[in-house]
Structure formats: structure tokens, C-alpha cells
Amino acid sequence: MSELFVVGISWRTAPVAVREKLAFRDEELTGTLQAMTAGLPVAEALLVSTCNRVEVYGVAKPGSDATGPVRAFLATQRGLAPADVADVLYDHRGSAAVRHVFSVASALDSLVLGEAQILGQLKAAYGVASGAGTSGPLLARCLERAFGVAKRVRTETAIARGAANVSTVAVDLAKRVFGNLEGKHVLVVGAGKMSTLAARHLYASGAQRIVVTNRSPEKAETLAAEIDGIARPWAELERLLVDADVVISSTGAREPILTRTLFKRVTKARRWRQLVVIDIAVPRDAEPAIGEFDGVYVFDIDDLEKVVAANLAERAKAAEHAGRIVEHEAGQFEHWLRTQGVVPTIRALRDRFARVAERELQKTLDQLARKEHTPAQQREVVQRLVQLVINKLLHQPTTALREAPPDEAGMRAEILCQLFDLSPVEPAESAEPDEPREPPQALDRVAATPASPERKAAT
């Protein structure tokens, strides 16, 4: 039976210096996938390549092992010797592969537990595979289930709760004070990289206006242009502080800029409206004392890091619960997979039986229609029909059983006994291949004397 497999590399097994060598650009994905399904024993394939992982999810062709060839393929595609990356590549098959895919989708395998990007990246990769025609029914089912599991994990556990990086924590803290940031004014003091990130997050959360001020006006202009803000001269700082709701400060100044004396004037002019000051500069731009003014909330880089650490610790706790969900869902998926394997067989068996019965029934009906039958004759016709159907249905299995090679005959007989719940009474008497001749005879007799089937069965 065809089997799911995973071959890949991730932040767990290799540093970025190695991962980047194996990474695929978006435009390379389709060609790579098609090459894989064309040249390897791979029936279905999906390739996800992010900064933290490069993985192939696939289905091996029946009876073959695909992981070895895929490992070699990945290496040679990137111009590496397969032996060089043998240690950093991992592979999973069957149930382990299902668990892996579910864990990845649920961000349990992510560097930042519970992060939201991986799900989107997986969905995109799935889209590419579908477009390339390399995603089949099994992979589709597995991925769709994985997306469902990821959703369940996100809603039922705390894995994605609490901001996991400094700039989202800054937004989170501002929301504690203002609820939503719509219409709020953000003031960026200094033009550091971190402040750009935080300002972007605030803007994305609905902040109305971003004003940038910096000692060097050129830098202020550049940053303002970058984040759709307005640059204002440094001399206006006090007035800008009065207008702002959130201040992000990250200057390179040696001395505090947001001083107590400045804030004494500012808070009064603001009439003590709430002001959130996020100070991510080291050394700090804000004197801690300004946090004592009514309505002023100051958070320095340590505070933000502390929140991040606490949130990540909460996520780690939730990971255990999430792991149980993944385990349960993977079990369910495997169950589905197993039943899926026999469904076509069941369908074919039923079709065959129905066809035989239909054909014989039609013949009999035609025969009945041709001329008048007495009730006794009708009865005989029906009996013959039943007998005919049974014979036809049993012909093939009986022949197969009788003509089976000696080493398989016993197993086939055993399976038949199990399937039909038989308990052969005289297995010891004649284990010879001509023994199965008995049942058709018995059936003939049953047909001949239908009135006493029980007695016949007893003999």
C-alpha cells in the first residue's frame, strides 16, 4: 500500500547556514515537484521551503521506499553530495509522518511555539502542489486534516496566546491602556530599527498617525517615508509628546531624553490623558520616574522581554495539551487510512455479486415470461436461480483455493474461514486438494431437496 512520508531539514537539525543551501525559491517549487513525481517512486509530493524548514511531504508509489531517493534528490537538486546532508536530513514514514505534518501545521515544531506563519506557508505550499498536479487524494486528505488540527490546537489550547516578540508585546501593552488603537497617534523618537518594527505593528493595529522625530532630520525623513509617517523637527518634541498617545523611543543618546521635568509639563498640558511610553533604547531614553505621573505608563526593553518570556513559557505549557490533540487526531487519521484501504475492495466485491445476481435474475425472468408456469414449476425455476447464483459466485474463490500453491492454500483457507465465520468439521480427514469438491455436491443436494435444508446440513 502506498505510504505517506516526510523528508526534510529544520531549525532543529541544522543551522541556517546549512538550511539556506537546501532552500527553494517559490518559482522553483513547481518544477522540482514535477521532477520528483516524474523521476522518483513518488506518487504525490508537496514541498515547503521557509526560513526554518525545507520539507517534502509525499506519498510513495505502492511497494517502494521513497525516502532514500528523495533525500538524494534534494541534495543533488541543490548541488550537494547526498552524503554531506545525510546527518541533517530526517525522514518519517507512515504514522510518524502523519504526526510530523500535524505537528508542523499546529506550529508545535516551530522555533517560536504556536507562531501563525507556518500554517499560511503550508497552505501556500499545498496550493503550489495542487497547481503543479503533484498533490493527490492521500496528501490532500492529510493536509486538509492537518489544517483542521492546527485550527483545533489554536482554539483549544493557549499555544498561540500572548505576544511572542517585543514589537507585538509593545502593541499588546498599548492595547491594555487604549483597548483599540484606532485613531491613536504614535510618536517615534529616534530612528532605530526596533522602533520601525514596533511602529509598523502599531500602524497595522489601527493607529491613525505616525510622527517621527530625530536629532538628524534626514534620518527622520527616511524613516517617515518608510513607514508612511510624518517627519517633524526635533525642536518640537515637547509639543509632539503632548499630542501623542503612544511613544516609541530608541535614540542612541547617552542621557535620558524623556525626563521628569519635561514630563511634568507634558502631562499637565495633556490633562493627564493616558500615554504609553515604549522605551527600547539602551541606554534608556526615559527616566523611570516619569512612570509616576498620572496616566503615564513606561515600559523598557527588559519589561517587554519579560512579557515575551512569560508568554513563551505559557505556550510551552500549552504544547503538552496540543501534543495530545495531535496524537489523537493522527490516530483518527490512521484509522481513516486503514478503512480507506479496504473500501475499494468492498465496493468491487459488492459490484461483482450484484452483477452476477442481476444477470441470472434477468435470464430467469425472461424464462418465466416466455410461457405460463405452474406454481410447482415456478418454485423449481426460483430454486435453480438461487443455486446458479451461488455456484457462479463461489466458482472463482473455489478454484483459487483449490489451485493455490501449497504454501498459500492453508492461509487462504484460514482467511476464508475468518471472513465467512466457518468452522470446518473434518479438516483432519482429508487435507488433500480434492477435498473442496464436497461443498458443491452438498449444495446440489440442498437444491434437490429444499424442503429439509437443516437435515442436510446436519449430515
Binding site: V177, F178, G179, W272, Q274, G291, G295
Partner: protein, 273 residues
């Protein structure tokens, strides 16, 4: 004191009262569990608050059928007050997550209700005039609104403290309750609503007392005036000087403490006869 009034004052609590008591207790417990991190139970906790509110209302209604007016005495008014508080809380929690506030408000409502129903009835003036009834009704309504504003201010102070002191591991922080600005604004609006009601109640009360010919030197009268002064001052400094946040919240609580003291003195006086 006629036997009729005796009977009226000591009407036994209805079954709905007991349902309300159990629902209040369960709601407070459920809200604490939600605070503990079982956020899935939040709808259940709010449903319990709803049940308590409905049962409480049914109890007041039932007493009405027994000719016990919700504003006929301070004791009855307390029951109405806690009903108003619960209703206000329910209304506010449709908009904000006020788990912490609920865990604080539910016990208050419960205690007020139990005090209103299970304390000895004592004796009350039989000839409660329309003026007196209106006074008690309005005073209860005004104090109820102030109580809600105070609850919001109390939540504000707890949350503000956690944020200012960076207590990122405390319940007040983890609960992610209503944002500070909203709490402050809502509290302020409620005081705007409660203040005129309370003012009218105060004036009617003064007229009522002077009509009865009683003297004005009882301690609750100046205390009621103190409550009024607190809230009047709050509205003025807020409007004129832009006071808000911590200072406003503290003043709100101070005013409410004075109002509670007035209620307490009334209650003791009635019970003592």
C-alpha cells in the same frame, strides 16, 4: 404598628431568592475558575450571572405581589440596589471582558441581597408617603449607578496598578480585562448619569424629613451630603482640570464609601427600631 405592616415587612424569601443566592455563589465561583485560566467556562459563568439576575428579579416581583414595594424601606432598597448592580454588570460584560470585575461584583450583590432579605425586619414607619417612596427609589437608583461606577473604578485601580508595577504574572494582568481608557470613560459617564438622580433624591429627602418635622442632626444626613459633594467635586475637577485615571477613580470610590456608610446607618437604625 399594626399587624398588617408587621406581616408586610417580614414576608419570607421566595424560592426565587434561594435560586438567586445559589446562582450568585456559583457565578462567583465560576468566574474565579475562569480567572484561573479555564476560559472555556466564561459563557457558563455569564449564564449563571444571568440566572442570578433573573431569579433576583423574580424575587423582587414576587415580593411586589405580596405588597412589598422595592423602595418601601432601606432593607428592600438594598435588594433592588444589588439587582441594579448585577444588571449593570451583565450589560457591561456584553461589551468588555470583566471577569475580574465579576468575581468582585458577584459577592457584593450576594451579600447585599442576603442582608436585604435575611436581616430582621425591625419596625418601619407605617405612613410611607409617596414623597418618601420616590426619595428611596431615586436614592437607590443613584447609589446603584454610583456602585457600578465604583466597581469600574476599582477594576481600573487594580489593572492600572498591575500595569504600572509591571506585575506581568498577576491575575489582574493575565486576565486581559477591559482597557484602562474604557474603564475610566465608562465610570465617568455613569457618574454623569447617577449624579442628577442622586441630587433629586437628596433634595426630596430633605423635603421629606422637614415635612415629618424631624431634626436634621442625624449623622446620615451630612454623610449623604458628603457623598454628593464628592461626586460634584469629581465632575468639576474632571471637566475643568482634566482629572482622570487614578485620582478620579479614588475619588469615585471615596464618594461611594460615604454612600455605603449612609445606607449602613439607615439599616442599623431601622433594625434597632
Amino acid at each position: 404598628m399594626t399587624t398588617t405592616s408587621e406581616r408586610l415587612l417580614s414576608v419570607a424569601p421566595s424560592p426565587a431568592f434561594w435560586v438567586a443566592v445559589i446562582a450568585y455563589t456559583a457565578a462567583a465561583a465560576a468566574l474565579l475558575v475562569v480567572l484561573g485560566g479555564h476560559t472555556k467556562l466564561r459563557p457558563l459563568a455569564l449564564a449563571l450571572v444571568g440566572l442570578a439576575f433573573v431569579a433576583h428579579g423574580a424575587d423582587i416581583g414576587w415580593r411586589g405581589t405580596q405588597h412589598v414595594h422595592p423602595a418601601q424601606s432601606v432593607r428592600e432598597a438594598l435588594g433592588l440596589l444589588s439587582f441594579i448592580i448585577t444588571g449593570g454588570y451583565l450589560l457591561a460584560s456584553t461589551r468588555y471582558r470583566l471577569t475580574l470585575g465579576g468575581a468582585a461584583v458577584m459577592p457584593v450583590s450576594l451579600v447585599l441581597l442576603v442582608v436585604a432579605r435575611l436581616t430582621p425586619a425591625g419596625t418601619a414607619p407605617e405612613d410611607l408617603s409617596t414623597l418618601g417612596r420616590i426619595h428611596i427609589s431615586l436614592a437607590t437608583l443613584g447609589v446603584g449607578v454610583f456602585a457600578l461606577a465604583s466597581a469600574l473604578s476599582a477594576i481600573y485601580l487594580v489593572e492600572e496598578r498591575a500595569l504600572r508595577r509591571k506585575r506581568f504574572d498577576t491575575l489582574a494582568f493575565k486576565d486581559k480585562g477591559a482597557p484602562l481608557e474604557a474603564l475610566d470613560r465608562l465610570s465617568h459617564r455613569l457618574i454623569w448619569v447617577g449624579f442628577p438622580i442622586f441630587t433629586v433624591a437628596l433634595v426630596l429627602g430633605a423635603i421629606w424629613v422637614s415635612k415629618l418635622g424631624e431634626s436634621l442632626d442625624r449623622p446620615e444626613y451630612p454623610l449623604a451630603a458628603v457623598t454628593w459633594i464628592f461626586y460634584a467635586a469629581l465632575l468639576v475637577v474632571r471637566q475643568v482640570y482634566g482629572w482622570r485615571g487614578r485620582r478620579a477613580a479614588r475619588l469615585t470610590l471615596a464618594g461611594f464609601a460615604a454612600a455605603l456608610l449612609v445606607l449602613f446607618i439607615y439599616l442599623v437604625r431601622r433594625m434597632a427600631g
